[in-house]
Symmetry: C2
Subunit: 350 residues, 2 copies
């Protein structure tokens, strides 16, 4: 009826997610003098009347792209959807206080299934004292689509952007890396076995930790609380959703710096190593490029080093350098390699 | 793999959208003392440090459910997606100031198509001085899914909830009713003609107004500005997205009142009447049950009647009554009929 003949067709895959966002949002102008940070960090930042900062972030999870209902219990899925949004607020050194949840769902899902999903969201909300303040439910033809917007807050003198890292500061990560991807591999393998022979029930006990990391990611609330008590403000911070290297590049790009980190400092769980052996892949690949860890990557001043090292669950992995966008890894044999981003972009990988 | 055998299956259609929301959210508790209004109005309301109120609302539009790309220009769609969200803020007597946009899209859509969509969002944002502050884009297997969260603000002494209507107050609507549904019928008819014979190009000029009402709904910002200048605060307000009757019931339920309105006061455009004749349906049906008008329905004190009547674009249609949930229409012949809700619920209609 309304044809678009003559209009060029540039595929979304060919430009990638980050360039796409640039292309579709570049004509927008800002109106509010209170908008401190728009698109381009883990959350938008709006100055409040009392000088504190309001944080807003939004994200979507789609069946078949971000999760597979055949091995994802709906309660876990709801929990994960909420936690991954809270993670964007933690990445600004803030605390989440409210979410809206927008669910689009086909009639293959029952009321009981949605109740399971919401019970997981509710557990995450209760653990973090976050209010569910709104949302909507919509019918779609197939599948399940979960959109969450989270509001958070942080004092103006405690916020961490991506852009504040300075040379010689120390680069740290929380928890361990690569486990969520290792868990995904195990679940995918068990699914393949099950599809071949449905009488075989999966035994995931050997890899319980990595499977849990995939299905039910951690919340790093305790790290944000530690920063507050220890009076530390990370100079730059981001959450690790697309793999360590991708996030290091985001900080380096925003801060106009480079970084060097040590291969043998990367915190990797024993089960992740076992999975890497099983799949005959270098375990460092899991740590550098595995997605969905939802750990925090941040830089701190050298004067905060001792305080931070004393906190169990934070690992210094390297330091910030002067040369913009030069990211290097010191390998176990002390040789140094340049590391290039190979971010997990949904449009490229699907 | 993880089977749910033994779990009951209650279909979503069988409970309807409003009951579903009750069922999935009833176990959530509120934590923040600043949360003034959670789920249950057009927007959530959070008290700000300076005493003003922050408004948050979220909504989704899905291809094949809320729009048909075969006759919806993407620029119009983007504009509509933004305006319908702003409408939820207007319904609280507030003003929108920021949105996040979450797009899930299949690779059938080009970068240029998304730019068209965002150019419509941008026009709406510019007209209303609203900042695009965040969002995300995700690949999906088919179709287009647009999720928008809007933030707005309103002074604490100027907010209108659904719950404030009192007996003998006057019930008013903005603009005219039923036009968006009439426009949808015309578009669907032309699509059917086109599918039968693609060489026939649609001629929509005779029904340009109602088609525009469907594709590019109005913004009632000028009404909110008028309330401010005239120092009027509607005692209750809601936007008309699911048809007049459904919204009257929402106000009556929240306010624990009833309402009487006059059939011959309902503002209906000439083109809507022509479409009703064409489809041989009573035009009142369009006004009472047609969705997507995005007009405002509100109650005012009798002392504000003269000020409101003087404003072009507002029509008093009746008054609030004491008996809870008794909604009546005085017909052209002065007979009175009870009116029951027949709300447009997506899960029931698909």
């Amino acid at each position: 009826m309304f044809t678009n003949s003559g209009v060029p067709f540039t595929s979304i895959e060919s430009v990638g997610e980050f360039r796409l966002i640039e292309l579709i949002t570049r004509d927008f102008k800002s109106f509010s003098p209170h908008l401190v940070q728009g698109i381009g960090d883990d959350a938008a930042v709006i100055a409040q009347p009392d000088g504190s900062l309001l944080l807003i972030s939004t994200d979507a999870m789609v069946e078949g792209i971000h999760f597979d209902c055949s091995y994802t219990p709906l309660k876990h899925l709801g929990y994960k959807a909420a936690i991954t949004n809270f993670s964007d607020i933690f990445a600004m050194n803030g605390k989440p206080f409210a979410i809206t949840v927008s669910i689009s769902v086909s009639n293959q899902f029952s009321v009981e299934a949605l109740q399971e999903l919401y019970s997981g969201i509710q557990i995450a909300c209760k653990e973090h004292e976050v209010d569910l303040i709104g949302g909507n439910t919509t019918a779609i033809k197939s599948g399940l689509h979960i959109g969450i917007t989270v509001l958070g807050k942080v004092a103006a003198d405690r916020i961490s952007y991506r852009k504040g890292a300075k040379p010689y500061e120390i680069l740290c990560v929380t928890g361990d890396l690569g486990a969520a991807y290792a868990g995904l591999q195990i679940l995918e393998r068990e699914k393949a076995v099950y599809l071949t022979n449905p009488s075989i029930q999966p035994d995931l006990s050997e890899f319980a930790y990595v499977v849990e990391r995939q299905l039910r990611p951690p919340s790093r609330k305790e790290v944000i609380n530690f920063f507050e008590k220890a009076n530390i403000v990370p100079t730059a911070m981001i959450d690790i959703s697309d793999g360590l290297v991708s996030e290091i590049y985001h900080i380096c790009k925003a801060s106009n710096v480079g970084a060097t980190f040590y291969q043998n400092k990367l915190p990797i769980d024993y089960q992740t190593i076992k999975v890497a052996e099983l799949f005959e892949l270098p375990v460092t690949t899991y740590a550098l490029y595995g997605g969905e860890d939802y750990e925090l990557l941040f830089s701190i001043k050298q004067t905060d080093y001792e305080k931070v090292s004393a906190f169990r669950g934070i690992t210094p992995i390297g330091y910030i350098e002067e040369t913009p966008l030069l990211v290097r890894m010191v390998q176990a044999d002390n040789s140094v390699v340049d590391i290039k981003p190979m971010g997990y972009e949904h449009f490229r990988s699907n």
